[in-house]
Amino acid sequence: MNTSKFIKILRETLGEQCSIKEDKDSYGNHSIWMKLKVKESINVVANSIKSFKGRCIVATAYKNRDGSHTIIYHFDINGTILNVEIKTNDNMFFSITPIIPSANWAEREIREMYGVEPIGHPNTDRLFLDYSIAKGVLNEFIPLSKLQRGVSKTDIMWKKVEEDINNG
């Protein structure tokens, strides 16, 4: 009910700028998947989520093979999940935290894990990632520990176990 009205409004304001797909799981729960053509449109979506008293659950980011990043916001409006996807080629996107405070941590994490900057985010500090670890650590496709040492800690440790077995 609530959500169909919401979709209608977004279709009217964004028109061709967004594509919408709906799905239903085997338990009957609806979810909505939305792709935005330009990343700036997230502002419009955030404002309507706010007017529908929705919240941001979390946001996911991942790096594509061409170097761009995909960001998916996961919102909840009264029990329905709304996933909104944007893409960025220039390591930045527009923060929605000023509109929806519950997006705060999710956007900060995207900054430190992928080095993609949420423009206009009220907080500039790191969240979880220690300063001894370079920003954008999840951009690596090969695990960093292996990259640095050539071998994993597991291999080194197992060598000691083998030595112990051989020494009886």
Partner: protein
């Protein structure tokens, strides 16, 4: 300007490591609060993409030991959604039994910690002893007191025969009167009342704005329990199982504690209802599924609130992206609202009242 007080990162009253820097005025009222996170950050989102799906059944369980059943539960539901697998209903039931046992034990531990922090020694002892009924159960039925290793794509790894069902019911029947008695004692204990009523206030509108979930939301008059709002598994197939808890309106530490008691009592009720009428059939499907390319978002109600998994696969043996959001992730921001303007001596009690799961949050 007032004095600066540091708590942590390693402190006997903190179960997990976190670092508080507070500024308090001469009456010990907190004026500023800064929280340093990241001590428990283990880079798990990177780890899961380097392990195969079978290994990830366990790795997700190790996100956090207190909600260790919910993580693999939600993870397998995401895989099943991508692979379009229908799970046998007996398996769904067994998942729920395991989940509710964990919920009850986890909440009891938090309540024990509350009484520990208020130095109510007898109450703490009795709460932990009551939790032991559930810990013993987990060890005898599932083989470990914390990590039950229950979930599997297409079903569960364990089964219950008549003997085990009787054993669970016997233990629960011993625990129920104790739990009810504890609830009364928490509600009426003078020290608990002194330390918890009107402390760590989270007003309803603030709670909505921040997007808190679970017992923290239920203590501030909001019920956004996933089992009711967007039911999954057996909560969807048998709506009569859904918890019938009503939110509490005190918005303080005690209300959140009482919301946890409500959850425990409902958890036990759900298990008893289920065990009296367990669906028959297989516990998992023999055929190992192929996991195709796809993406899914799935959520469940963990002991602390809403747990959501995003999973993206490409048809290989490993996920290409997995992300999860745990209840504490949003409940944490509410801490600042609760702590500001309250007394320094209340900080650890307030922290405990959101039942923080830092290992979940920082991954």
């Amino acid at each position: 300007m007032g004095k600066t007080i540091k708590i942590g990162p390693f402190h006997p009253e903190l179960e997990e490591s976190v670092y508080f820097k507070l500024v308090a005025d001469k009456n010990s009222i907190v004026q500023e609060v800064e929280i340093v996170n990241g001590f428990i950050h283990r880079g798990m989102e990177s780890l899961v993409t380097n392990r195969n799906f079978m290994q990830n059944l366990i790795l997700t369980e190790r996100v956090c030991s207190l909600c260790s059943n919910n993580h693999p539960f939600t993870f397998v539901m995401a895989v099943e959604k991508i692979a379009n697998i229908k799970v046998p209903s007996r398996a769904e039931a067994l998942r729920v039994v395991a989940d509710e046992i964990k919920r009850a034990a986890s909440n009891l531990f938090n309540l024990a910690m509350l009484s520990h922090l208020t130095h109510s020694y007898e109450l703490m002892k009795d709460t932990l002893e009551t939790r032991e009924y559930l810990q013993d159960l987990k060890e005898t039925i599932w083989g470990n007191r914390m990590d039950m290793s229950v979930n599997l794509f297409t079903g569960v790894k364990y089964d219950l025969d008549a003997k085990k069902v009787v054993h669970i019911l016997e233990k629960l029947n011993l625990a129920i009167p104790k739990i009810k008695e504890l609830q009364k004692r928490f509600e009426n204990d003078e020290i608990i009342k002194q330390r918890c009523v009107g402390v760590g206030i989270l007003p309803t509108e603030k709670a909505l704005e921040i997007g808190v979930t679970g017992p923290v939301a239920r203590g501030s008059g909001i019920n956004n329990d996933v089992r009711v709002k967007a039911p999954y598994s057996l909560y969807a197939l048998r709506p009569e199982l859904q918890p019938r808890t009503k939110p509490r309106n005190g918005c303080d530490v005690l209300s959140r504690a009482m919301a946890r008691f409500d959850d425990i009592i409902e958890a036990v009720r759900i298990i008893k209802d289920l065990l009296s009428d367990l669906p028959r059939g297989k516990t998992y499907l023999e055929k190992r599924p192929h996991i195709p390319e796809g993406e899914a978002v799935v959520r469940t109600e963990a002991p602390r609130g809403e747990l959501i998994y995003y999973l993206k696969t490409d048809g290989s043996q490993k996920p290409i992206r997995m992300r999860w959001k745990v209840p504490t992730y949003t409940n944490w921001e509410a801490l600042k609202v609760m702590i500001l303007g309250d007394k320094v001596e209340n900080v650890t009690i307030i922290l405990n009242s959101i039942d923080p799961c830092i290992s979940c949050t920082e991954r």
